[in-house]
């Protein structure tokens, strides 16, 4: 029973099946948008059968579905069981004990290459010729003068690399799971000037308490000369428990800020409605500018003892400016009870030979000049704790290195048996070469080595 399970879980065919299954499910996952709100799916698929079927099959959140996770787990089990089964043998090929010539000869491995040479040279000379082709033997057995066995290995340490590759897959997955369990991804949309010590989880909007307070000092969008966005910049300050600012920094896309293991990313931006309209005010008696005021629509503002309210005119006609300022004697009045309505006019003044237009109105001694719209920006900041990404990157570096070492270092082993030649004269050399991978290059190299030994034997 156990051995059957063991065999099943270590088979490469199972791995092939699982890999194909996971790849196919991933394809489905890219054809249907994943993790959208239900209302969005209702728009795409309607409320009919199609939606029901997709929902029931888990196709709307395929990467979190029970079968995707089960198949991935099976792959991990497959990987671990298979590696555990083959590791002891691989370990022996690297660190010994190494098998003997006769054992290898009997195995009749289909990958093996064989060669037999007869020479008049004695065993010592033969051995030195062999070593010019194969280097120093890892093991030498036998008696001086008598039959002898030599064992050579090339690159055998890299036999460990696939196991390290497999282990690194486990390390990466461990990092992913640790992050999933102990980390979070959340966001906070902050108005300029706003302070918070809460953020909201991306997946379900539940609030998270942060170990510090965060303030958005300023948000701005920077443009290239032709109007394409160059960067989105939020200046944020970190405040400690006593509301003392400990750090102020600009964050941009690709330039986050990490503080106490929590990282803040520039994720989005926008402006709140209603926007306000900015007016420059002038003292008409002495023509001096008084200042800049911003008015949100319908909000009441106290200005030099009068109450002002900005009223948008949605149905402005012709040249009419689409807003006015209503003036009230006291703040309790209804919007319709304005004592005076200030309509705006288009004027112009000359400067540097040019007519510059402006929009203005006046009330008593004060002139109001329209000077643009004020947006109340907010910045969408993503706040994340990914304390275990270091585990993932460690596993990743291990993986790339292990792949490199498994692929680019061909491993081969050689057994040589030296015995006295016919009638006790000269030597008989028998050579077996065994590659890790059955590549044409190996057999070519093997023949080259044999040729080289022959030349050595003849030249001495």
């Amino acid at each position: 029973m156990f051995s059957k399970l063991n065999k099943f879980f270590s088979s490469v065919k199972l791995a092939i099946f699982l890999l194909i299954a996971l790849a196919s499910l991933s394809v489905v996952g890219t054809l249907i948008n994943q993790g959208e709100p239900m209302s969005q799916y209702a728009k795409i698929f309607g409320h009919g059968l199609l939606f029901e079927v997709f929902y029931w099959l888990g196709f709307l959140n395929i990467f979190g579905s029970w079968y995707f996770i089960t198949l991935s787990s099976l792959l991990v089990v497959n990987l671990v069981v298979s590696s555990a089964n083959t590791f002891p043998r691989a370990f022996k090929t690297v660190f010994g004990p190494f098998p003997y010539f006769s054992v290898i000869l009997e195995r009749k491995n289909p990958k093996a290459a064989y060669s037999t040479l007869n020479t008049k040279k004695n065993n010592e000379d033969a051995q030195s010729s062999i070593e010019t082709a194969f280097g120093k033997p890892l093991r030498e057995t036998g008696t001086p003068g008598g039959p002898k066995e030599l064992y050579f290995a090339k690159n055998s340490i890299f036999r460990m690399a696939p196991y390290i590759a497999h282990a690194s897959v486990i390390v990466i997955l461990a990092g992913v799971i640790l992050n999933f369990v102990y980390g979070f991804r959340s966001y906070a949309n902050l108005k300029e000037g706003q302070l918070t010590n809460f953020s909201y989880l991306l997946q379900n909007n539940k609030p998270v308490k942060l170990p510090f307070s965060l303030r958005l000092d300023k948000y701005r969008t920077v443009y290239y000369p032709d109007g394409i966005v160059k960067s989105y910049v939020s200046r944020i300050s970190i405040l400690n428990k006593n509301h003392i600012s400990v750090l102020t920094k600009d964050i941009k896309v690709n330039q986050p800020l990490t503080y106490k293991g929590i990282t803040m990313y520039q994720a989005s931006y926008g402006h709140y409605r209603p926007d306000a309209i900015k007016f420059m005010t002038f003292n008409l008696v002495n023509d001096k500018a008084q200042g800049l005021i911003s008015m949100e629509p319908y909000k009441l503002y106290n200005y030099n003892g009068s109450y002002l309210r900005l009223i948008p005119l949605p149905h402005a006609s012709g040249n009419q400016i689409p807003f006015l300022i209503a003036v009230y004697k006291d703040p309790g009045n209804k919007p319709s009870d304005a004592s005076k309505e200030l309509f705006f006019n288009l004027g112009s003044y000359a400067r540097g030979g040019k007519e510059i237009p402006f929009i203005y109105t006046k009330y008593k001694n004060t002139g109001f000049v329209y000077s643009g719209i004020k947006h109340y920006y907010y910045s969408g900041i993503e706040i994340t704790r990914n304390s275990y990404t270091a585990v993932i990157w460690t596993g990743s570096i291990m993986l790339v290195l292990a792949l490199f070492f498994s692929f680019f270092f061909n491993q081969s082993r050689y057994w040589v048996r030296l015995s006295p030649g016919e009638k006790g004269k000269g030597s008989l050399i028998e050579i077996i070469g065994l590659p890790r991978k059955k590549f044409a290059m190996f057999y070519k190299n093997f023949n080259d080595k044999i040729e080289r030994i022959k030349r050595e034997l003849n030249s001495k």
């Binding site: 088979s11 490469v12 065919k13 791995a15 092939i16 890999l19 194909i20 996971l22 790849a23 991933s26 394809v27 996952g29 890219t30 054809l31 994943q34 993790g35 990467f63 992913v176 991804r185 290239y224 000369p225 032709d226 394409i228 966005v229 160059k230 960067s231 989105y232 941009k252 896309v253 690709n254 986050p256 990282t263 990313y265 520039q266 994720a267 989005s268 931006y269 926008g270 993503e382 994340t384 990914n386 990404t389 993932i392 990157w393 990743s396 993986l399 790339v400 792949l403 490199f404 692929f407 680019f408 991978k437 590549f439 044409a440 290059m441």
Partner: protein, 301 residues
């Protein structure tokens, strides 16, 4: 949207030289194609030298384009839009072939490589879908990860493209040879031994796989740095994972009993179809984080 680059940008930004280099790819294609039937080594050697000259010209064009984009104040290497990526793809597979050719006698592979490269280069040069003007880059792409991410992935794609060509040659040769009594034609006799092709497919695929793995990881590290999630199952990411799984499968198929060179050749062919879909198809079919269009929405990422 051509206000930054003037009207003579086509010369300054190197695009004209990529267009000219197309000639240096099409001529070798013709040469290699005729070579398949005549087996005239002088032809394949001439094709090789013309192709190598084209590679030099393209290298020059890249240097020009790169310096030019910094010169006009766009501090991003020229690898970001569809045009750049197509010419870079052509560049990588030509470079890959030139390298492989130095070590193996694979002249028969030349026509597939030059055909693929010419298709990519021709599409880049003449399709209105791939304008060559250097546009300012959106904030998400302004990162030093960009260049490592793209170069590693394109080296991988180039390798997989080469393996694809070899896979086809393998199947052709395997098919003809397995018919007993049939005389092998000139075309087949030019190909290396079937076992040599198999070995080359393996080596080129695993070379690509190392770079693919590194490229995906760099992408994940970049995403982590840009927006705090190393993996978001965005379609392009998912397709890169599917590509990776395909080639991991390739590597392991050898260990399964009964999976010979023929199936490996098939995986190399299918794998490249997956690569092409990941590279171009995803953008055309499913827009996502990586699409080559400029985003119009407020959401930055």
């Amino acid at each position: 949207m051509n206000t930054i680059a003037g009207s003579n940008a086509y010369f300054l930004d190197g695009a004209i030289f990529f267009t000219i280099s197309l000639v240096f790819v099409v001529l070798p294609f013709i040469g290699y194609f005729i070579f398949l039937f005549t087996g005239d080594k002088r032809l394949s050697r001439a094709s090789f030298f013309v192709l190598a000259a084209g590679l030099l010209l393209q290298t020059f064009a890249f240097v020009l384009r790169w310096t030019y984009s910094y010169h006009i104040g766009i501090h991003t290497p020229p690898f970001v839009d569809l045009y750049d990526s197509l010419v870079f793809f052509a560049y990588v597979i030509i470079a890959g072939f030139v390298l492989v050719r130095i070590f193996y006698d694979f002249d028969a592979l030349g026509f597939i490589i030059t055909l693929t490269a010419a298709a990519a280069l021709g599409f880049a040069s003449f399709s209105p879908l791939a304008p060559s003007t250097i546009e300012p880059t959106m904030p998400a792409l302004q990162s030093s990860y960009l260049i490592y991410h793209i170069i590693t992935l394109f080296i991988a794609y180039g390798a997989f493209g080469t393996a694809f060509g070899l896979g086809i040659l393998y199947l052709i040769k395997n098919r003809k040879e397995s018919v007993p009594g049939k005389k092998t034609g000139r075309f087949l006799s030019l190909l290396p031994e079937i076992s040599v092709i198999e070995e080359a497919i393996y080596k080129i695929v695993v070379f690509g796989l190392v770079f693919l793995t590194a490229g995906i990881i760099i992408g994940a590290a970049w995403a982590d740095n840009a927006w705090g999630g190393y993996w978001s199952w965005d379609p392009k990411e998912t397709w890169s994972l599917i590509t990776w799984i395909t080639y991991i499968l390739f590597v392991h198929a050898r260990f399964a009993r009964g999976w010979g060179g023929k199936r490996l050749a098939w995986i190399a062919i299918i794998g490249f179809a997956v690569v092409i879909f990941c590279y171009l198809g995803v953008d055309l079919v499913i827009p996502g984080l990586h699409s080559y269009a400029t985003p119009g929405s407020k959401q930055i990422l």
